[in-house]
């Protein structure tokens, strides 16, 4: 059973009265536990939208087609309320964004502990988990520093620590190396790979960077709101089935 799987995923955004954007046109995807998957594609391909739906930030559109399906660990999450989705994001998922995404008035440790707070973990337990997570990314000694006192790469590592602290089932990263130079990018990438290889952390990331894509187990390539290539290796039976499903 896949950790996270979806079918008939559509999403249309209304930008203004007459301007709508069909970001996803019907996508089927399946993420196995322990996989590190990259989603790549040109601008407007729908990769970020797919990430947002997999991350329960938005719900898939129910209309204009067959009913969408989305399951996390076997549970149906396709049509949950905002509150329910928020709870799952807090407790079972971790997020890393492109632009550092730390709260500027909080220290590194407090930023990490924020995730604990939202997941209902408080006090000593949260502090301990926070320090541990910072340790895993090599920033235990910078726990009391504010984001302004940290470099870009360090801030991104704090964000990763925050994504990990609740031991989530899956981590979703939207262009985690987008704003970093090549050296810092490599550092962050190595960290993510380490968590995937040694701790079995499932990771899905959206990226422009081919090198980042290469470091993953597979690359899902998208274009114009659909998946063109599921990235499975040819010798896997799933790949053969999947390539039949991809429209010409």
């Amino acid at each position: 059973m896949a950790l996270l799987e979806g079918r008939n995923l559509r999403k249309t955004y209304r930008l203004s009265k007459r301007n709508t954007v069909e970001a996803l046109k019907g996508v089927e995807v399946s993420i196995e536990a322990g996989e590190m998957v990259a989603i790549m594609g040109p601008s407007g391909s729908g990769k970020s939208t797919l990430m947002h739906i997999l991350g329960l930030l938005h719900s898939p559109d129910p209309n204009h087609g067959p009913a969408p399906e989305l399951r996390l660990g076997g549970e149906d999450v396709a049509s949950l309320s905002d509150n329910a989705r928020t709870k799952i994001r807090a407790r079972r998922m971790g997020f890393v964004f492109q632009d550092f995404n730390l709260v500027p008035t909080l220290t590194a440790l407090e930023n990490v502990m924020l995730a604990c707070d939202y997941a209902g973990v408080g006090g000593k337990q949260a502090k301990q988990a926070g320090i541990e997570a910072l340790g895993l990314v090599g920033l235990a000694d910078r726990a009391d520093h504010k984001p302004s006192e940290l470099s870009g790469g360090e801030q991104q590592r704090v964000a990763i620590a925050r994504a990990l602290v609740n031991k989530p089932e899956i981590i979703l990263a939207d262009e985690p190396t987008g704003n970093l130079d090549s050296e810092r990018s490599a550092e962050v990438l190595a960290l993510l790979r380490e968590f995937n290889r040694e701790h079995g952390q499932t990771i899905v990331l959206v990226t422009h960077d081919a090198e980042v894509g290469e470091a993953c187990d597979r690359i899902i390539r998208m274009r114009d709101g659909r998946i063109r290539d599921y990235g499975h290796r040819i010798d896997s039976p799933v790949a053969a089935y999947a390539s039949v499903a991809v429209p010409a």
Binding site: N83, M93, F95, D99, T105, Y118, A119
Partner: protein, 388 residues
């Protein structure tokens, strides 16, 4: 606290907003203290006049009146339901007293013990003693404010209407009219009073026989209102009988209007401060749109986001309330100290007023945050994250 760090992000803006509310709270504290004092004065009077009737000819409040005769006292004492009737003389200490806020300074002549022990209004001497029946001649017990103004000490002398009196006691503060009174034996008051009458009338009147009012105490089980009607019919139309309800009717409305006007002014200035806070929080939410997006994305519920904003704006209110209270308290203390010398202590800052002021400010702050908080919680995480 973490909240204060967020406030410190925008020091100038936070300071301006806090100042706005603080000014409103300061006004509330100062005006509220004035209203407290006014209520204490009038409340004290209300307490005094409850349960007894005052007989006079004409009304002291309407200006000219005729003096009563002591034979009226005998007549009243014989009436059914009267436990005691005692004559009194009240006159202004100084004819040229300018209108002050609060009660005027008076000379009050009475017969100690004339109430037969029925007087319930508490009056005690802080130094010296109260007047006793055997007192005669020019002795006086001064109210606390008047004593301070005249710089009087027990055993010393003060001049009341250009006549020297020996001070035998100083009253403990009552927070109402007696603080500005000079109590003297009836005989001494009669002598002083007669001198205020026009010369023609002076020659016709027997000084030892006059009173300006008679205080009537009802027997147990008889209420003052019933007795008032009885007195009125027994004495006839030229006499005025006033009971506690009349006093309340006369002055109660003054007290209410006073409180309302003062509180209204303070509330208005607080409204301005409150609106300024709404604006500040709206700006804070707009500036922290990305931050709110991140928090929502990593699992903060809408309720959490609302709570954060409302708490922050409540803290603005709390800080402003404490500052406003501190400044208001300093001002009332200053004004009281300045006025004490001339006997005008016009402000009473009670614990109730202080707590109300701070609680109100905090509540105002919290409410000001409601709408911006609601907007913040409705932000879509993804859109908020991308906000430039």
């Amino acid at each position: 606290m973490r909240l204060v760090r967020d406030l410190a992000r925008r020091k100038l803006r936070s300071t301006l907003t806090i100042t706005g509310i603080a000014i409103g709270i300061m006004a509330l504290v100062v005006f509220g203290s004035m209203a407290n004092k006014m209520n204490a004065l009038i409340g004290g009077g209300s307490k005094y006049y409850a349960g007894k009737d005052i007989v006079s000819i004409g009304s002291m409040f309407s200006g000219s009146f005729q003096p009563l005769s002591l034979s009226d006292v005998d007549k009243i004492e014989k009436l059914d339901g009267v436990a005691a009737a005692t004559p009194g003389i009240d006159m202004m200490l100084d004819d040229s007293t300018t209108a002050t806020m609060g009660t005027p300074e008076m000379i009050s002549g009475s017969v100690p013990g004339g109430d037969k022990g029925l007087e319930t209004f508490p009056m005690t001497a802080s130094t010296g003693r109260l007047l006793i029946a055997s007192d005669s001649g020019n002795v006086t017990v001064l109210g606390s404010d008047l004593a301070r103004k005249l710089n009087a000490k027990v055993g010393g002398k003060v001049a009341l209407r250009n006549v020297d009196f020996t001070v035998v006691g100083i009253l403990a503060p009552t927070l109402t009219a007696p603080d500005k009174d000079a109590e003297v034996p009836l005989g001494a008051a009669q002598q002083l009073f007669v001198k205020t009458l026009p010369p023609l009338i002076q020659s016709k009147v027997n000084a030892a026989d006059i009173a300006t009012s008679i205080t009537v105490y009802p027997k147990a089980g008889v209420d003052a209102e019933t007795l008032k009607t009885r007195l009125q019919s027994a004495l006839g139309g030229s006499y005025t009988v006033m009971d506690g309800k009349d006093f309340d009717a006369m002055l109660g409305s003054i007290s209410t209007i006073f409180s309302l006007v003062l509180t209204g002014v303070a509330m208005l200035s607080l409204l301005v401060g409150g609106l300024s806070t709404v604006n500040t929080m709206a700006m804070a939410v707009a500036e922290r749109t990305r931050e709110i997006g991140i928090k929502r994305a990593i699992g903060a519920s809408r309720w959490r986001i609302r709570r954060e904003i409302v708490l922050e704006s409540a803290v603005i209110g709390l800080i402003a309330g404490l500052i406003g209270l501190a400044i208001g308290a300093a001002m009332t203390t200053l004004f009281n100290d300045l006025g004490r010398g001339s006997g005008n202590v016009l402000f009473e800052l009670t614990l109730g007023t202080a707590l109300t002021a701070v609680a109100f400010a905090t509540g105002l702050g919290a409410v000001a945050g409601f709408v911006p908080a609601w907007h913040a919680s409705r932000l879509d995480p993804v859109t908020a994250l991308r906000y430039e």
